[in-house]
Amino acid sequence: MLGLAKGLSYTLKNLTRKKVTYDYPNEPLPLPDRFRGIQKFYPEKCIVCNQCANICPTDCIQLTGKKHPDPAKKGKIIDAYDINFEICILCDLCTEVCPTEAIIMTNNFELAEYSRDELFKNLEWLDENDENIRKVNKA
């Protein structure tokens, strides 16, 4: 019986402790800067080097480029950029290899949708996803 009484005293001691839960979803969760959430994409920074699509372990990034509209300039600009969030595991490798930081993680993680099709995010959607962007992208 002594053991039970000891246990109870621990429980009683904890009654007065501050609570540790958050009122999510009424209040946003505090997340660190490095948190890996849904990517933000900057079309103007992208140089269509394909490194993100190549490093992606689940092959969820599809992109195509087109010739620069200004004939004086070399290189390509981005035409279409899709991420399939059905299979994206938010591993952060795409942002790690990007030489121009055109793709960056944000702190947004709410990806629930009513249909699977809506998990295909295109260039416009990823461009507009511009809240809570990670401040320091590389170590």
Binding site: G7, T11, V20, P32, R34, R36, P57, L93, A139
Partner: protein, 366 residues
Amino acid sequence: MLRTEEMLLNVGPQHPSTHGVFRLVLKIDGEVIKEAKPVIGYLHRGTEKLAENLQYTQIIPYTDRMDYLAAMTNNYILVHAVETMMDIKIPDRAEYLRIITMELGRIASHLVWWGTYLLDIGATSPFLYAFREREMIINMLNEISGGRLTFNYMRVGGVKWDAPEGWIDKVKEFVPYMREQLKGYHQLVTGNEIFMNRVKGVGKYTKEDALNYSLSGANLRCTGVKWDLRKDEPYSIYDRFDFDVAVQDGGDAWARYHVRMKEIEESLKILEQAVEQFPSEGDILAKVPKIIKAPKGEAFVRIESPRGEIGCYIASDGKKEPYRLKFRRPSFYNLQILPKLLEGENIANLIAILGAIDIVLGEVDG
């Protein structure tokens, strides 16, 4: 004389004290289990086969998903294997960051076990206390790696991120706090008479059984075998720390409980020393080529994960993908003894025995 018939009872596939999906087919005679047949594979994703088409860096996020309660050690085993093949020297600062994150992961993993095991055998409140402290660890690891469970933190040659400002101090403050909480845990549970009656002598096996079944980790050390790879085959910089190997005689669930609780204490000791010795500056990544190619040949390395010995075998033909990758996943080996332990046991002891083995189905199924 009343005649009874044997009955087949299906348990699962779901979450009976496991972290993942597990199924058991039991042949029972009344309340006594005559035969138990584990059915695994519900979480099989073919990590090893997938890895054959992936570059070494791309495999790291996959290892996170094997033992997702202690993903840091899984990250480490892969990069450690590749580094062994390539013969890379890791900068000191990176080694310390690895040790600190791995030991934090070990504590978090044991806390999950402690909480859920007691939950399974009927005590609800320990779970809440364990997860309160685990959440602090997860938050620290989230801060350094950007993920709560799937860290993807280690890289071949070092780690991805340096510690953010004030992070080391947070770990430093956490050590005495956790020690204090651990005392509370013992006060709450260890002396509890109901708990003692529930686990003492349950799921008992001998030292010979443990060795024959190739058990490792707490499941081996609970029979009195002093075998811990951190001590016996020091990898990384474990030889720089002073700590004991948690051993207990008995071989029952009660002994396993004590080994794991002691291991939390030992991990705290390592953390304390690692934080003390933490170099104030230095690189976090060694000089490695941009595309990692392990030289032709093979390598096998093993380390001590919270669940036992995790090993990684790589056969490489010199390309940027491995020719063959094999993980020795401790949960899978530890689970093998379950049918033997369950034979002749009362069905009420099923969960107490299964839970004490501490398996993660992501790791069992691979």
